[in-house]
Each structure stands twice: as structure tokens, then as C-alpha cells.
Symmetry: C2
Subunit: 304 residues, 2 copies
């Protein structure tokens, strides 16, 4: 055990804890920062009219699906670091020889490079224990101040799956009909293939991933979960890797406008917001995917 | 090859493409949606004053670090689906027997459950080819409309690493000093351990992950990258899994206020914004981590 100061552990994702709560000092510093940036821009010949730099703010705090709670106000939990006042312990993960590292890195790339978003899912049953382990894996993701701001709702009940499908398709139909004036939507019969989502009935599991936008601390005070959307999305990346590792498929979807209705039928609390909906199962025998390519390494990586 | 309509492929992440461009019809539908939601709320006894439901909008579009470009205006690329007008091909990933699935799911959970955010990184060199494969793996993530909106900047040049450290520490010091009035920051000497980031010099690689907030289409028109932050975060989840798989460590950080300055010294274009900074290497021999626990499965999963 090592003794290190409490606030050393406070920022797993290096979150700007409480930064927004001191506007007076922040404003002063902000002016200083703009001054500095102005100089940088001048050196680069950029116009000052483009200067809009501000401190990064968690965009989730501006999420317009936010529903105020009766507890909202100035009584936020004031000490998010306290629960992270933990001793340090030695850390020594497995170490691989260089040849082994290279082989493992190639094999893992080969595995994940086979992953595709698949809309054609088989109704065959999938062992629950596999799904449990996939979600355990997703739960190992890092999160802002170790808030672990995720709830994974696994739906296998046929009636609930159908109720979800009904809500998603109703909203999708509205969205697509609204776009009929747009030139890329030319044929209603064709559009129908987009808003009808048979896989929501067929897949053995629907996984609805909620982000917890805030938590309730000691004494019932609200604790803002900084970076909750980024944290849950990182967790989703690990989940997709875990699914691919066991031969299951999904399509990563972000259902438009359905969040509040789905939250209600799944009886999730108001601090949770739907981020993604993933149907999970084996691919159907006749599954197809669009023949798209990924960018080569040189198009996504720069080395300095 | 199968013939399926072009716009069938347009929404890998089921992105609300162009939804924001038809406010008149959207407003009408929005009223209808509120009406429906009002009924739902009434059934649940919720107050109507809490009704703030609106169509989901990509929060990135409200990112206040956005810098307008000379091309901004009404000349956005109008047909994001066109490049996805692709034939379908059969998809048959590896299929594992149930016993094998269970074992693979357990093994992968065990591997990723050993991952921790580590700030104590060894200066030992790491083969570039391993880093290349890790980034190739991250590049297999799904993205809104298959935009692949990520740029991975790998920095091994000592001078550039030091310049990055200088910028990050300058901004961190400002941020921490501003918080001195807050009760959880009590001792300047202790704070210093937080804003000093030695690992930015020591780690053999710094990986700076940029999100591409828009792209440039045919004829120089801007194409908004919907869900770019979620897509890049999912990609980061796969990258963290790939690092763990080869025995390397990192700490997932989101440097506050540094984005514009780091973008400039790394010579990235204005459509890119820094999302994360990850120092990468082997853990140092004396590496430690806070002794924190993860939530048990029952606290993160609900089954219906």
C-alpha cells in the first residue's frame, strides 16, 4: 500500500470536476486565455473573428432531453473525490515478449476487422451466460471519476421486444416521411425497408444501453456524471469487441426520439437516458452486409 | 451480390441525417410528439412542466470549440448516402460451439478486467508495428454513415512530446489554481502532483485522438459527421482492448482547454478537434493504481 493524496485519484478520465461552479475566476482566466490564443492566432495569420475558444464543457449537460428533477438546484454533491480516497496498490499486468506482442496485435486486428454491423439476425437462442460475460466486459471500461455511468438493459421477453419495435418504428416512420422532400429519398416503397426493423422482434436479445447523466450521493444530493456519454461509448466499444470475440453480431443504432418512451416502458429512472439500442444474436444464414471498405492505416494515422 | 436500395445502407449508426434541415415539418411533428408524450406523462402522473422532449440532436453540433470555416453555409454536401450506394455481399463470421463461446467470453472478460488506467509508464521502447496494429484495430469501429471520423496522431518525437506536456501542464495549472476556493482542494503542494504529468515526457508514445467534426465532399462541400464523438469514443474502447491484449498501458485523459493549441502544434486541420490524449507504453516497474473496485453485474445490468 502506498499513501498518495486523495484528489490524486479523482480524475480517471481527467474530468473537469466542478469547473463550471466558479464563473467569476473562470471568466478572468478565460480572458487571459483568449489573450494568449489571440497571440497564437496572430502568429499563424488567423483571423481573430474565428476565436471562440472556451473551456470544454460536457455536452451532456446541454442535452435537450434533460428532464429537471425536484432535487435540482444548488445542492449538488460537493465532494466527488471523497469516494476515490483509496490507497494505491502495485500493478503488474502480463508482459509478453516482442514476438508474442506482434502476433497478438495481428490476431486481435484480424478478429475485429471481421466485425460488421449486421441487420439480419437469427432467432436461435444464445446462452444467457455469454451475454452476462459480454456485459461484464463492457463494465471494465474507464469512466469519468470512476462513476461507471452505464445501465445495460437486456430484453428477451417477446412482448417487451415487440413494444420496443412498435415505438422505434413509429418514430422512424415519422422521421423518414419528414424527409420525403429531400432528393435522396425518392421512393416510399424503398424507404419502408429502412424504417421497418424486423430484427427487433427476431433477435433473441435487445440490449438498450442507458447513460446515467447524474447519480445520487450521500444525503440525496445530485452528483453530475462528467463525460458520461464518452464513458458509455467507450464501454460500448469494448462490448462490440466482446461480441465479435464470441461470434455474435449486432448493429449499433441510436434510435431517434425514442429515448423517453423506451425509458418509461423499461421503467428506468429519470437520470438515465437511452444512448444505444443493439439487437444481439447469431447472424441469419442469409445475412448480408454492404460491400464497404475501411480506410487504410495511412488515412487514419499520422506519426510525428 | 444482392440488389438493395441505396439509402438502405445510409445509417450505420442510424444517424438522423439531414433531420435538422426541415424545421417546418419537424415543428409540426414535434407538436404531435409532445401531445403524445403529454398523454404518457399524464398516465404516469408526471407534471407537464417537465416536458422538454425534442428530437435528438448531435451534441457535437453545439460544441463551443467549433471554429467556423470560410466554407460554412448552405452548401453542405446534400447526399451523404451516395457514397454508400454499395452492393450487399454474404456475411458469415466464425461460429463457435456453445462451450467454446462460454470459454471465450470468460477469457476475454478476464483479460479486460485486468485493465487499469496507469499513470506510471516505462520509457522502454515499444515496437512501432504493435502500435500500428492497435490503431488498425481501433479503425474497425462502426461510425455514423461509415464516415470513420477519426485521426490518430502518434507522437514519439521527444521535442514534440515535451511541447505537448508544456501546454497540458500550463492549462492544468490554471484549472487547478482556479479551484483553490473549493474545499476539496486544500493544499497546493498536494495539488501539484495532479497537474504535473511526467508521463507525457516519459511514455514512448503519446496518442492524440482527434474527432473529425465534418468532412469535405465532392466539389469542396462540407459534410457534417453526425455522431462523430460517439463514433470516436467507441473506437477508443476497441483501442483500449487492443492495448490490453498486448500488455501495454495508458490513461484515458481528456485534456481541458488544450485542444486548439495542441491541434496547431500537431498541424491538424480546423475540422478536427482533440477528443483524448493517451500516453502509451509498458507500465513502470513501480507502477501503482488506486485500489478501486468495479460494480458487480447486478448493479449494471437489468434483465427483462
Amino acid at each position: 500500500m502506498y499513501a498518495r493524496p486523495a484528489h490524486f485519484y479523482a480524475r480517471i478520465l481527467e474530468a473537469p470536476l466542478h469547473f463550471a461552479r466558479i464563473p467569476d475566476k473562470a471568466a478572468i482566466s478565460h480572458a487571459g486565455r483568449l489573450q494568449r490564443e489571440k497571440k497564437t492566432k496572430e502568429l499563424k495569420g488567423e483571423s481573430d473573428s474565428t476565436s471562440k475558444a472556451k473551456p470544454w464543457v460536457d455536452q451532456d449537460l446541454q442535452d435537450d432531453t434533460e428532464i429537471p428533477s425536484p432535487n435540482q438546484g444548488d445542492d449538488e454533491e460537493d465532494d466527488p473525490g471523497s469516494e476515490l480516497d483509496l490507497p494505491h496498490v502495485p500493478y503488474a499486468p502480463p508482459r509478453y515478449a516482442v514476438d508474442s506482442m506482434l502476433e497478438r496485435s495481428r490476431d486481435f486486428y484480424t478478429l475485429l476487422n471481421q466485425r460488421r454491423s449486421v441487420r439480419f439476425i437469427s432467432p436461435e437462442p444464445v446462452p444467457r451466460e455469454v451475454i452476462d460475460n459480454v456485459i461484464r466486459t463492457a463494465g471494465t471500461a474507464p469512466s469519468g471519476a470512476h462513476t461507471e455511468p452505464w445501465t445495460f438493459v437486456v430484453v428477451s421477453d417477446p412482448d417487451t421486444k415487440h413494444a420496443i419495435r412498435t415505438i422505434v418504428e413509429e418514430e422512424e416512420e415519422v422521421n423518414y416521411r419528414q424527409r420525403m422532400g429531400n432528393k435522396w429519398v425518392k421512393d416510399l416503397a424503398k424507404i419502408r425497408t429502412t424504417w421497418v426493423k424486423e430484427y427487433l422482434d427476431v433477435a433473441p436479445y435487445l440490449l438498450l444501453i442507458f447513460k446515467q447523466t447524474y447519480g445520487i450521493g450521500t444525503g440525496g444530493k445530485r452528483k453530475t456524471h462528467y463525460y458520461n456519454e464518452i464513458s458509455v461509448s467507450i464501454s460500448c466499444g469494448m462490448l462490440l469487441a466482446a461480441l465479435q470475440n464470441v461470434g455474435l453480431v449486432t448493429v449499433t443504432s441510436t434510435p431517434l426520439n425514442c429515448g423517453p418512451r423506451l425509458r418509461v416502458i423499461l421503467q428506468r429512472p429519470t437520470n438515465e437516458k437511452l444512448l444505444m439500442l443493439l439487437p444481439i444474436g447469431y447472424p441469419s444464414d442469409d445475412a448480408t452486409v454492404p460491400d464497404l471498405k475501411r480506410k487504410p492505416l495511412d488515412d487514419i494515422m499520422v506519426h510525428i
